[in-house]
Amino acid sequence: MRRAATGRPAEIRWGLSVAPSRVPDVAHNGDALVHADGLTKRFGDFAAVNGIDLRVERGEAFGFLGPNGAGKSSTMRMIACVSPRTGGELSVLGMDPNRDGPQIRARIGVCPQLDNLDNELTVRQNLHIYGRYFGLSRAQVRAKAVELLDFAQLAERADDEVEPLSGGMKRRLTIARSLINDPELLLLDEPTTGLDPQARHLLWDRLFRLKQEGVTLIITTHYMDEAEQLCDRLVVMDGGKIVAEGSPAGLIAQYSTREVLELRFAPGTQADAVPDVADLADRVEVLPDRLLLYADDGEAALKAAHNRGVHPLSSLVRRSSLEDVFLRLTGRTLVD
């Protein structure tokens, strides 16, 4: 049997070790780590990023949400100083990426969307060689690697080749590698895409720890639960622009209601009930088999609907989530 099956660390903590803070714990003090003004990236005629403004403060966990092609990754690449901007202003760690790219890259960590580890080297060697690119001595990288292997729960696999590791292990190694230079700013592009729930929770736990240690995090994600868990503040991007900005709770308050009532009907009959319930909610959304009623009191709306003779197959009252905000802002149409 492959060791991968038994190599899972024994004491995975399922809960999160630190409660997510929903409020930025750093005041706007002019010490913005990232500051963009009218930031633009064009590829030919296509504007991937179309004049965005943002500020990320030191110590913050900042998120980019948006459908595919919204411009999140292009923005991340400009902040990571690997993609020259086409227009606007950008400062990272108080420096200009156009002029000080290597100096900025020396002090940040990047966890790319696609793992780009050296598969034919061992886990430990991957950390060693990467650290050397940041000017660290052999003794420094050796010591740091031990610490990071522990942090990423990869100590048992330290001297195994990377290739046969599971996706979650490779992801953890990629994150560990991005920390080799003790970055002040960590950029994570879809850090948990493709991972199983155990691996995601472990990664979240690690990211919380980093935040506690004062690392500023910038995260792109498709997962609303991830954004709610991790981010103090986030922006929703669509079509290269920022369409909303705020804390997860603030965005829900601003763009959705406190609760959502879901009424499920036999497909095709759902629209018949719309006239009866339209005034029970701030907004009614018609899906192929359901009606979504955005209301502050879902139970009251349900009761009112029953009283009016509306009898869905099933009903559900739930709290509004960031996903509701996201879908409202960027639409339900599939983006490819």
Binding site: R105, A106, R107, P112, I129, Y133, G135
Partner: protein
């Protein structure tokens, strides 16, 4: 306040660190490439130099030398050319596309240009390693005319690099699975190996083919390696060969900095 331990290192140190990473890999994986880059040129030297060469009478065509000694300085260049071509194709494509480790490197203080320096320098190290092994075995087999024949080693590295730099530039533009490389091996590397004066003098070829041969880096390398090994080389000719190889390398390296930057900093 948290402060990072990272610093931006200069281009020379960057190249050195890239070499260090390749070396780490090579120490684990050298066996996989040893057959093609080290063993096969030695088999050529034994089969053609000693075996077939035993049937070749020393004469004008062999510059008065036993065939194996005539062959050795040229063969180390041909082997370098071949190894260089291989190291410049699939490994480069993989580093952009499959393993994507160039993308990992350029997320660090090391930029695309410094990376090019490291990638090319590493190929030179590879050529030096396999060339040195070849020379050592050639010396044991009595295939070297004397200490001067060791000069073929640096010439072979230069020859290989004149081949590697332009091919690396080309490989860095490839977006496909690398089918194009087979054409390079079949229609450039193999004919160059056969007809650039490695095994027999170019004068034996038809007149129209000779200018084509003069354009190849391998012919220049071969002429230079033999001239230095056996002595009596015309200094001006030696300078010309060196300049031609350096020019090919420089042009290729310049193109690499452009293509790497275009692909990695978009």
């Amino acid at each position: 306040m948290r402060t990072s331990t990272g610093t931006a290192i200069g281009p020379a140190r960057s190249a050195l660190m890239v070499i260090e990473a390749f070396w780490t890999w090579y120490k684990r994986n050298w066996r996989s490439s040893a057959v093609s880059s080290i063993l096969s040129p030695l088999l050529f030297l034994i089969a053609l130099g000693l075996g077939f060469g035993s049937q070749v009478r020393a004469g004008d065509a062999t510059l008065g030398l036993p065939y194996v000694q005539y062959l050795a300085p040229a063969l180390v260049c041909a082997a370098a050319m071949q190894t260089a071509a291989f190291e410049s194709t699939f490994p480069v494509l993989s580093s952009f596309k499959w393993q994507r480790n160039y993308i990992a490197v350029t997320a660090t203080p090391i930029g695309p240009k410094a990376l090019v320096g490291g990638v090319l320098a590493w190929i030179a190290v590879r050529l030096a390693v396999s060339g040195a092994v070849f020379m050592a075995v050639a010396a044991l087999l009595g295939a070297l005319t004397g200490p001067a024949a060791l000069l073929a080693l640096p010439v072979s590295i230069l020859t290989g690099m004149a081949m590697a730099a332009p091919i690396v530039a080309y490989s860095s533009t490839i977006e496909t699975e690398g089918q194009q490389f087979n054409a390079i091996f079949r229609f450039i590397v193999m004919p160059m190996m056969m007809f650039s004066g490695t095994f027999f003098p170019v004068e034996q070829l038809p007149g129209w083919a000779q200018p084509v041969v003069w354009a190849t880096p391998l012919w220049h390398g071969t002429e230079l390696a033999r001239g230095l090994s056996f002595g009596g080389v015309d200094p001006l000719a030696a300078l010309g060969h060196t300049a031609y190889l350096l020019a090919l390398f420089a042009a290729g390296a310049y193109l690499c900095t452009r293509t790497f930057t275009r692909r990695l900093a978009v």
